[in-house]
Symmetry: C3
């Protein structure tokens, strides 16, 4: 039994096959009814969701399956995942019970559990989703964990391929952007994994101190090496954006500012010129973002309303790539 926890658990050829499956489902050339029909997906949300929940429900429903959605909330109800703890605090249930129990009610389990952004080392362990995987008795899907958002990554890959054709050798630039609060790194991690897996040159632009997870960067480097492409990390945004075939914009917080909101806010203000506008965009470039996006903070109105912006297509492709992932997991 395989899970869908990390793009790194699959090799690029398998990921490419999933993208092909997703395109076939979207075009109607194939159906996932045989795999998904009458099957039940149980989704557990520790954090809010608009696109993820809706696209997963839609993926199940349109191929004859069903989805059960549990919003366990942030503060309302908490699951313990550490071993050996005396559970006399806020945590009413342990993943050792919750994961196998939920496995009995459906055919697939999916979990969303964001990074806490208190301790970079803790987040890097991705302990909650890993604990669910350890005790699940059905395939488990990562709907965004502390380290990765692999469903988003695969949808991004599909979108590039739809718009640009074969992505190999194309230039993918991930640009950091300012925000009003620190955000997790799961999306940028999955975006660069997808770009590397798809065979693109990968450039990562962020201000000093905004380094991404070292393990993810190592995997990106390895995949780029296999594909014969380059990886670059730079603190100069403007110099690299204009040459991009794909400009992927995303904000995230600096690990050094975790638990120091004023320092993070000051850093956002100092880098307010990183807000992406139309002048960052090459003539035929794609502008990408995972959504939700704060207009005129992360990306300007003009850029988001430009025909080069494909954010709605990215969001739609969540549906088709997730259907392909589910089909794959259910087929074994």
């Amino acid at each position: 039994m395989r899970h869908w926890l990390s793009m790194g658990d699959y090799d690029p050829a398998e990921l490419a096959a999933l993208v092909r499956d997703a395109c076939a489902l979207k075009s109607g050339r194939s159906s996932a009814q045989d795999a998904i029909g009458d099957r039940i997906l149980t989704m557990v949300f520790f954090n809010p969701s608009l696109r993820t929940r809706t696209s997963f429900e839609s993926a199940m429903l349109r191929f004859g399956g069903h989805a059960i959605c549990l919003n366990v909330g942030g503060d309302a109800w908490k699951l313990e995942h550490r071993d050996g703890v005396v559970m006399d605090g806020d945590f009413a249930e342990h993943v050792r019970e919750a994961s196998p129990v939920l496995s009995r009610y459906g055919d697939l389990l999916a979990v969303r559990t964001f990074a806490r952004l208190h301790d970079a080392r803790e987040d890097a362990q991705d302990a909650v989703i890993r604990s669910f995987a350890q005790y699940a008795t059905v395939p488990l899907i990562n709907m965004e964990s502390a380290v990765e958002h692999p469903c988003q990554g695969l949808a991004d890959w599909m979108t590039v391929q739809e718009k640009l054709g074969d992505p190999r050798g194309k230039r993918f630039v991930l640009s950091w952007a300012p925000h009003v609060k620190p955000l997790p790194m799961a999306v940028p991690h999955s975006a660069i994994l997808a770009a590397a897996g798809a065979g693109m040159h990968v450039t990562i632009a962020h201000p000093p101190g905004y380094d991404l997870n070292a393990g993810v960067l190592d995997r990106v480097s390895a995949w780029c090496a296999d594909a014969g492409t380059q990886v670059d990390v730079t603190t100069e945004q403007r110099a690299v954006c204009r040459d991009a075939d794909v400009l992927y914009v995303k904000s995230w917080g600096a690990t050094q500012h975790y638990n120091d909101a004023p320092a993070q806010t000051e850093s956002f203000a100092r880098h307010s010129d990183w807000t992406v506008g139309t002048d960052h965009l090459g003539r035929n470039a794609l502008l990408m973002h995972c959504l939700p996006v704060r207009r005129n903070v992360v990306i300007t109105d003009a850029a988001l309303d430009d025909t080069r912006c494909v954010v709605v297509d990215q969001a739609e492709n969540r549906l088709w790539t997730q259907a392909a992932i589910i089909q794959r997991l259910l087929n074994g």
Copy 2:
């Protein structure tokens, strides 16, 4: 592509046809399976709901369709709808993204977004639902907006027709009632639009200062003129209630008291004799209310438990009229 945003977007003959369709669905003489089967309705609730959510889900499910329900909550998560704003506040996403994205996941979109009751002019613009409509790429349903609750209005029309036969020429009285807090005007607006559209004489009774939306009143007058019926607005409740064929009771807040809770509370107390009881009801009158209703504040126990009270039938008819609306929207 047509939306279902306002009763005024349809002419009375079209609304009457929808009521006929709803009656046929309720009786089992027709089915909406062809239109609704395998289709997905995505519902977005900015405000709580008991009847609306359940009746929409039921309408989809019983004709072979599916419903996805997003409770985006009041404070939890907010959508910006204004153009050109720098989104550095509480609003994490813009309707320009949310509406087209949600349009991709299903076949129909439905939104509930109450009046804020801070600024009557702002509420009258109904900007949130209008913004969703502007960017939706599938038919959009109003599940109660700042100005109207057209699903409730159509259910009310159907209920009158079920109970009294042809409503033309019957006397419809909308009576204001006291409450413990100011409520929006969407339901009274839709109730009088439905009554006017159905060809009834319309009398509106409320204390001084509780005027309804001028645009809605204009439309009601125009429809009554077309039907050859009367419209009256009065501040005398008792004089008009006893002659009503239909007594529709509803509380709403006074625009002059928006942002002045003590003044509103004092006004409710001063008009506590507007609470409707059995002595307000004519012998063969219908007593109507959209629910939820606060017993012995808005309407007395005796009146609500009277056989002339049809509030549960009104609520049931939400299901059938909504199925008729959905069928119509999906059929083109």
Copy 3:
């Protein structure tokens, strides 16, 4: 029309038949498709749920039915159930409207409404679920009320029978355990009703002052008398646990400490040696708990991870017993 409110509304032979039906559904020897297919269950949760909601949805979905789930929340929205009240407080709607309205949208209604733990006499009346039953026009299911959790009880009965074969004459011990806050008695009540109904000897061990509901104890005594088995209540835990065929562990609050949190906390601390470990368990005993369970507070890690622990099977059996209950209610 029958409801499913209390195990005591059914006689033990009927309950045993439901357990047999549930086993047949689990094994695939029979299907509930004829009864459940295309039917709609409307669930109303006044309190949070993980297992109950998911297992009910799964029960409906896997036999072709549908479930609608309303989380009315704790503070968000409240229903009045008392007669004759002037509803000028927090309660926006009365059960007299909510129950018949929700009855119109689906084929079955289910309600979860926990004990308030403020007044033992009030809790013992189980007024909210009884009020729903009074006004419902479709069969009503108790998903845990102030006094009972009969779905859990039936799942427990099924689990014992699955693991031990014929339960008659076996020794069932319910042991109280400490916790971090007072919990309702609905689960222990249903556990001993199930044990008595299944023909087991019933021993209840708790510290002084933790007496269960007298009416439930009377019914347990009556059923045990009919079956020719013993009922014992003791304040000595260790002496009875080791001889149990089934050791059912559960914490609950002392009625004398309602509204006195420090006294309850002190009592938990004074009885911390009631935490159940492997040394409480006989060699071939079953260890049971309804979940969620706080590890190393209620039961130790070693005991929960022991092969004699069947808590995940209990949780799974919720699904099958609930399907059997629904089938029975829909068939008449």
